[in-house]
């Protein structure tokens, strides 16, 4: 019991290391108190009075014995902010002090965007973090935060940033391979993870082949890929155009199993082209 009292007193002395003689001189308040830590306030005089601790984050009221130190055990004040100490009743006095966030991060608010994007985009993925302590106070002292973007094959990119006023951000390139990557923010042993879906980009190049089948030409592309070699998703539209004798006919075909196929009339001398998005494929002049 005596040992516990000594520990409590030790904590209180530490919390009160920087004390201020408050306005009206009846109160001596700490300059700062770490969120959740114990602290003490000295009230000069004799008799009884009421001590108020007033802030937007918390309000406390104690009946105090003047001339004695009023102890506030750990956990009394935990919301960071500016607090007024007001003594009323047997004596009057006021003081101000700050409850500051605990130094140890306990929670990261991690905003990552977008949740899905094309592969190979420079600075395409952004992440912002706010760092909080165990009482949901924003830790405003500069804090190092590391970011990692990794795919199934391992860590692709790492960045680090220092918070300013509790916030930090980073930007990452989307990787070359399609799939789901893990975007991780980490500080002081606290980890927050977001999943980022990376999908193939637009077709990079197109190549088609032609084969006659009776009065028709069977046109078929090679498997369509983006510039990183990922298969472009089925459903992507490929446009075949046949120009013959001053006329032009166009057919839009969705990719199916990675390729596009169509039949067009086999006019001797026709010029056939293929395109998808901004990618223009090869041209075939059908022989007479």
């Amino acid at each position: 019991m005596r040992a516990r009292s000594k520990i409590l007193l030790g904590l209180l002395v530490a919390a009160s290391a920087h004390t201020l003689l408050a306005q009206g001189s009846a109160l001596t308040v700490p300059k700062t108190v770490e969120a959740g830590a114990g602290f003490s306030i000295q009230c000069a005089g004799s008799g009884k009075a009421t001590l108020y601790i007033i802030g937007t984050g918390q309000v406390l009221k104690r009946e105090v014995q003047l001339g004695e130190t009023t102890l506030f055990p750990a956990g009394s004040l935990y919301n960071a902010g500016r607090y007024l100490a007001v003594l009323a009743g047997g004596a009057t006095g006021t003081g101000e002090f700050d409850v500051v966030p605990a130094h140890q991060p306990a929670n990261l608010s991690f905003l990552a965007r977008p949740s899905r994007l094309q592969v190979g985009l420079h600075d395409g993925i952004t992440g912002a973090v706010y760092v909080f302590d165990a009482y949901e106070n924003l830790i405003t002292v500069p804090t190092q935060v590391s970011f990692e973007l990794s795919g199934p094959s391992g860590i692709a990119q790492t960045r680090s940033a220092t918070t300013r006023d509790g916030a930090a951000w980073t930007a990452m390139d989307s990787s070359a391979r399609e799939g789901t990557d893990k975007f991780v923010a980490r500080t002081g042993g606290i980890v927050s993870t977001r999943m980022i879906g990376q999908v193939p980009g637009d077709p990079c190049s197109l190549k088609m082949n032609a084969r006659q089948s009776g009065q028709q030409l069977e046109l078929e592309t090679d498997p369509v890929r983006d510039c990183s070699g990922n298969a472009v998703p089925d459903g992507t539209i490929v446009t075949f155009t046949e120009a013959y004798n001053g006329d032009e006919s166009t057919v839009d075909v969705p990719l199916k199993r990675g390729i596009a196929k169509v039949e067009m009339p086999a006019h001797p001398g026709a010029i056939i082209t293929v395109a998808s998005g901004v990618a223009l494929g090869n041209q075939i002049r059908w022989g007479r």
Partner: protein, 165 residues
């Protein structure tokens, strides 16, 4: 609805000023970290909504009505103010907060556009009333760090935290 008409001198010029009927407001040029440009309309709306939140805070703490907070506060800011109102009600205390001056600067606009952080060197009066007896009225100066997030119609305060200037 704004209780007082706010006259914007120039929002973005360095050392520009805004004057409200009750509180003087100065808006410093934004000192942004982050890649996202901040449009003037966005900054104006965020600052307008933040200043309105002080009126809401004043009414909620004076009347001990947590329901008044819903329009302007969200997340931990709302939870903490609600707890304070409950503590006040239990103790028979009311507090009156009247903002007198704001010196504002936007310091962070997240890349996703889903949060704005600003600092406010604020001056305000706090009156403490215990069972209808005024105990004290004090002028307080503090540096607030505020994080706002967008809702359907307005920016709401998600983090509202003060420290010494």
């Amino acid at each position: 609805m704004l209780r007082s008409l706010v006259i914007v001198c120039t929002l973005f010029g360095a050392g520009s000023c805004v004057i409200a009927a009750q509180a003087s407001v100065r808006v410093e040029a934004a000192n942004l970290q982050g890649p996202r440009p901040l449009e003037e309309q966005t900054a104006t709306a965020a600052i307008r909504d933040y200043l309105q939140s002080w009126k809401t805070l004043g009414s909620a703490l004076e009347e001990n009505r947590a329901d008044l907070l819903d329009r302007d506060f969200v997340g931990s800011a709302r939870d903490k103010l609600t707890d304070t109102i409950q503590q006040q009600s239990k103790l028979g205390i009311q507090t009156s907060y009247r903002d007198r001056a704001h010196d504002l600067q936007i310091v962070f606009y997240s890349p996703d556009g889903l949060s704005i952080e600003l600092t406010d060197a604020a001056e305000y009066d706090v009156q403490v009333i215990d069972h209808n007896n005024v105990q004290t009225t004090q002028r307080v100066s503090a540096r607030y760090i505020v994080v706002l997030t967008p809702a359907e119609l307005r920016w709401r305060v998600r983090v509202f935290q003060a420290a010494a200037l």
